[in-house]
Every structure is written in C-alpha cells, then in structure tokens.
C-alpha cells in the first residue's frame, strides 16, 4: 500500500516538475543550443500552438519600437522619457533569456529605433539621430551622436517618425498627416476637405534620405517616395522582394462626421486599415479617398463629396494588398527572416496592432499581434491569423484604458525569436517556438 502511494506521489512530483519547466519538449534537446524556458503563463499572453513567451524586461515606461543587434542586445525607444532616459539598452549576461543588464541614455521622446551598419538610429518627432555602436559594448559612445535628418514639421497628431532601411543605404521615414482628413476646420462636422490638401507637401507620406549623411533636412534632402498615406507607423523593407511595405492608420469618425451616411456600426469597421506594397512615387489617396475592405474599392471621403458609392478621383488610386478591420492601429511590421519558427512563417508579415479607440459605442478591438503568410516575392499566400493576444488582460476592452498592455513594437532576434514591446507599462516579451517543425 505504502509503495503504491509512493508511486503515485513520485508521478505527481515528476508531473509538477515538468509543469514548472513550461513547454520545453524533448525535441528541443536535439536541436543544438536550447532556447530559454518560457514563462509558465507566457507573460500573460496567449500564443499560437507550439509557441511560448518569456518576459525579458518589464516596466520600462511608455515603450515604442525596438531592435536587437547581432549579439542579442536589445534597444528600446521610449515614446516618453523616464528618468531622463529615452533609449533603454538591455543585455542578457548569463544566457537565461532575461535581460539582466539595463542602461539608459538619449534624453528625448520619440518612437523610432533601428540598427544599420553598426549605427543605432533613433528618432524624435522632428529629427533622426544616430550613434556608433562599438563591438561588445552595450552602450554606444553617446558623445558620438550625430543628427542625420532634422526639420520635420512639429505636429501633435501622428507625429511618430518611424523609419526603415533598404539595402542601398537609403532610409525611409514615415511623416504622418497632422489631421484626420485635411478638413478646413479640424475634425468638425460639416467642414469640407481642403482641395488640394496642403498637408501633402511635407506630410502624409514616406520620405527617402541618404542613410549615412549627417546634417540633412527634410526640405533640402528629402525625396517624397510615396504620398497620400495618413500615418504609416508600421513600415518595413522586405529584403527578399526588395521593396517597401507599410500599414496605414486609416481615418477616424466616419459616423460622427457623416452620420447620414455611416452608422456607428459602419464606423466601427470602416475604413479598412490598409496594407500597402509601395513603389517609388505611389499615391494611396489620403485625404481624398478611403478603402472599403468589404467592397475592395477606394471611395471618396465624405469631406470630398463622397456618398459611400462615388469613387470619382479614387477610381485609379492604387489599392492596398490587404484591408484589415478599421481603427485597429497597426504600429509595427516585420517580415520574418529567421529559421526558428516553422517554415510557413518565413517571409511572412508580423503586424503589431496597438488597438482601437474610435469604435465606441462598440467594444474596442485590435490589441494583438497578427501573422499574415507571404512568399519571398511579397505576395500574400493565405489568411491572416491572430498570433499573440490577451495583452489587455481583460475579456472586453470598452475603453482603451482598460488594456493593461498594448503591443506597439516588433523585432526579430538573431536566433529567430520574435520580440514584442508594450506601450502601457513597457513590458517586452520574447516569443519562441518549442513545437514540431513539421506543421
């Protein structure tokens, strides 16, 4: 009898030990350098099957975009400085996955951060700076900071200067529109749209610059690479198809500004959040046009004579490659290049949706990270799926404040792990794959 009890207890014991270990599997043992063990609760989020997450850093502040260097050091841009630090550099010194060294510098607000040829680039809302990184050193020599580009318009709305590099020493910078739909009187019912919209001259598009020349200004050195884009915080260069992609924050308030045409329900899903494949000199139609993802067409905005049916000047405007539901706020995009995840993820797009505010009285939506399968040529090859969710920690988000965490930035680590940043508290998750590769 005693022996039987012991057996049961030993089994229980082993089970608990196993449960404590998280989702580590036998297969992992065969695969060379083992991944760190995921947190038992995946850091409070839910993931696609086979994936696990660990919180590598927490409570950093209001985080924006993130990037990792080839050694796995992580750099986080803070949208708002905390303790007079706007960039947080993090390192895992003992290989357990947790970032145990944390150092800050760069006393300025801003969202964009990236690494290009051993330089760390970071943006304010009106400029882009860079620092030379030294091999093995976590912090750059901050006295080496140079201002690459300045002179972007100082604006309140859609001010984040997110950016990306191509393979030919060019940097592409998002310059958002300082309005909802370029009305004469901002966001006011009955106020017509300005035509032509003067904001298109230096805003509402993507500007290209030399990635290695300090002292540039938008007016002197910038090339308007694409226009008619309201705000493309989420942008990435697709290195396999060799082209630029971006997602737009679509316009707000179709119901409030044109209630005779759009119900509250209509407004909660329209317009589509557009995913653009961008060629040089493209025009995507803002502020004149919006995309109806149900009809798959662009229509005139009500401020420009739209009645839900009229296409007018929007008829020939380049369409997105996909339209997500409205107001979800795509804040970052990366194309997965690694080999850690199963092959279906290779070349596909991960998109961080920050979550909506403009869907009331309907519940808010978004607040998740999406995966969209794509091939090496940049073509969509399947349906989009929610890859990581549960960030708000509540079932229904009535008001954005209810959300405890909101995804804002994405980066791929040198081993193919996916990192996600949060704008509410500054939590950083590392997503790893533990399942079978044959999916």
């Amino acid at each position: 009898m005693l022996r039987n009890y012991s057996l049961i207890l030993i089994s229980l014991f082993s089970f608990l030990l196993y449960a404590c270990e998280g989702s580590k599997t036998a297969e992992q043992e065969e695969k060379g350098p083992a991944l760190p063990v995921a947190d038992i609760d995946n850091g409070g989020i839910q993931l696609s099957d086979g994936f696990g997450a660990m919180v590598v850093a927490d409570t950093l502040g209001i985080a924006g975009h993130i990037v990792l260097d080839d050694e796995g050091d992580l750099y986080v841009k803070l949208r708002r400085t905390k303790n007079e630090e706007g960039i947080i550099a993090l390192r895992d010194s003992d290989g357990d996955g947790k970032m145990d060294i944390q150092q800050g510098f760069g006393n300025y607000n801003g969202t964009g951060i990236d690494i290009h040829e051993n330089y760390l680039y970071a943006s304010t809302d009106v400029a882009i700076h860079r620092y030379k990184l030294a091999p093995g050193e976590l912090l750059p020599d901050t006295s080496s900071m140079e201002t690459l580009i300045s002179g972007f318009p100082d604006q309140g709305q859609h001010a984040s200067k997110t950016f990306v590099f191509d393979d030919n020493n060019n940097i592409y910078v998002n310059v958002g529109a300082p309005s909802n739909a370029c009305q004469e009187k901002m966001r006011q019912v009955g106020s017509p749209g300005l035509d032509p919209c003067p904001q298109l001259e230096y805003q509402a598009g993507i500007w290209r610059f030399n990635a290695n020349e300090a002292g540039q200004t938008q007016k002197e050195n910038g090339y308007k690479y694409a226009t008619g884009i309201r705000n493309a915080m989420a942008l990435d260069w697709n290195h396999s198809s060799n082209g630029l992609f971006a997602l737009q924050h679509g316009r707000d308030d179709l119901h409030r500004l044109a209630e005779e045409l759009y119900t509250e329900k209509d407004n909660s899903v329209l317009p589509g959040e557009e995913f653009f494949q961008i060629d040089q000199d493209d025009d995507f139609g803002w502020p004149y046009c919006y995309f109806d993802q149900f009809k798959g067409e662009k229509f005139l905005n009500p401020e420009y004579g739209g009645d839900r049916e009229r296409q007018g000047r929007c008829e020939g405007i380049k369409k997105p490659i996909f339209g997500f539901p409205g107001h979800l706020a795509p804040n970052d995009l990366i194309f997965y290049q690694g080999d850690q995840f199963p092959s279906k993820y290779k070349n596909g797009a991960f998109i961080a949706f920050h979550g909506s505010w403009n869907r009331a009285p309907e519940p808010q939506g978004g607040y998740f990270v999406v995966f969209l399968p794509m091939d090496a040529s940049g073509k969509i090859t399947g349906e989009w799926e929610i890859f990581a969710e549960g960030f708000p920690q509540v079932e229904t988000v009535e008001s954005p404040r209810d959300a405890v965490y909101r995804p804002v930035g994405l980066a791929e680590g040198p081993d193919g792990s996916l990192y996600i940043s949060d704008s509410r508290k500054g939590r950083i998750w590392r997503i790893m794959y533990y399942g079978s590769k044959e999916v």
Binding site: L9, L12, F13, L16, I40, A360, S399, R401
Partner: protein, 153 residues
C-alpha cells in the same frame, strides 16, 4: 515520515509554481463600495439629459467611463480641469483645445474640437452630467453660466 517528506517537497514546488500566477491587487481600482439599502435617489433630469448629450458629443473620445484614451484624450474623472474652475471648463468646451496637456501626471496630445455649435443648455447639461459622474461630485453648471462665458469669448 517518508510520505510526509514527499508531501512537503510537493507543497514547496506547488507554491513556487503558482506564485507567479497570483494576480497582484490592482491599486488603480477604487475599493468597492458596500451596497446599502437606501431610498432611491431622485435623479436630476438635467443629468439624464446630459448623459444623452454626452453620448452623442463626447463619448467617442472621452469614452463611456470618462477616462479618455491614454496618451491621446485626457480623462474627465478625478481632475481639477473638470471639478475646478467652471469658467475654464466651459471655455474648453466652447473653444476646444489642441496640443500637449498634463492631467494627473500623464501627458495627453489630442485634438478637442470647439463645441460652440451646441446650445447653452446642451453644454450645461453635459457638464452637469460630467461633474456628477465618473466619481466626480461637483456642483451643476447652469445655462446662464455657459452664456456668460460664451459672451466673453
């Protein structure tokens, strides 16, 4: 004895396993008020009217719970902007306000459009509702007070 030992080890593992799962109390939540049996309060009809007008003109940005949108639209709950000087509050509704604004230590940067197209009565009822809701307990605002600020603008 052996069984006891195993139980002890099991217990320790179990505690260390579940420790992380335990939710920390959320200090931002106000303590739950006890339900008391009270005579039903008479609801001020101006507050009811104000709530309807709030839903129509304000809720999109300031939300049903009056707490706004982080980083974007400031809260109307527990702030001096709402519960303090009435004239300042009325003038923000009439004239709007754009740009950075700090409320209770958080920075907001959104666009509040002017609402001078609303009548004195609509604005008065909205502000009466707002000052009596979301935990606010401030005095009502009268039509005449709105009219007086409007005349000065």
């Amino acid at each position: 004895m052996r069984i006891f030992g195993i139980f002890l080890v099991l217990g320790i593992i179990w505690i260390s396993c579940t420790e992380e799962k335990q939710a920390k109390p959320d200090q931002t939540q106000s303590p739950k008020t006890e339900v008391k049996k009270e005579e039903p309060k008479e609801v001020d009809p101006r507050v009811v009217e104000g709530e309807d007008n709030y839903k129509k003109h304000c809720m999109t940005c300031h939300m049903k719970d009056g707490y706004g949108v982080p980083n974007l639209n400031p809260p109307l709950a527990e702030t001096e902007w709402v519960n303090g000087n009435k004239d300042t509050l009325i003038s923000i509704v009439l004239e709007g306000r754009t740009g950075e604004m700090e409320v209770n230590g958080e920075v907001y940067n959104g666009v509040m459009i002017p609402h001078n197209h609303l009548s004195d009565q609509e604005i008065a009822t909205i502000l009466t509702y707002v000052r009596a809701s979301f935990g606010n307990k401030s005095s009502p605002i009268m039509e005449e007070e709105v009219a007086s600020v409007r005349a000065q603008i």
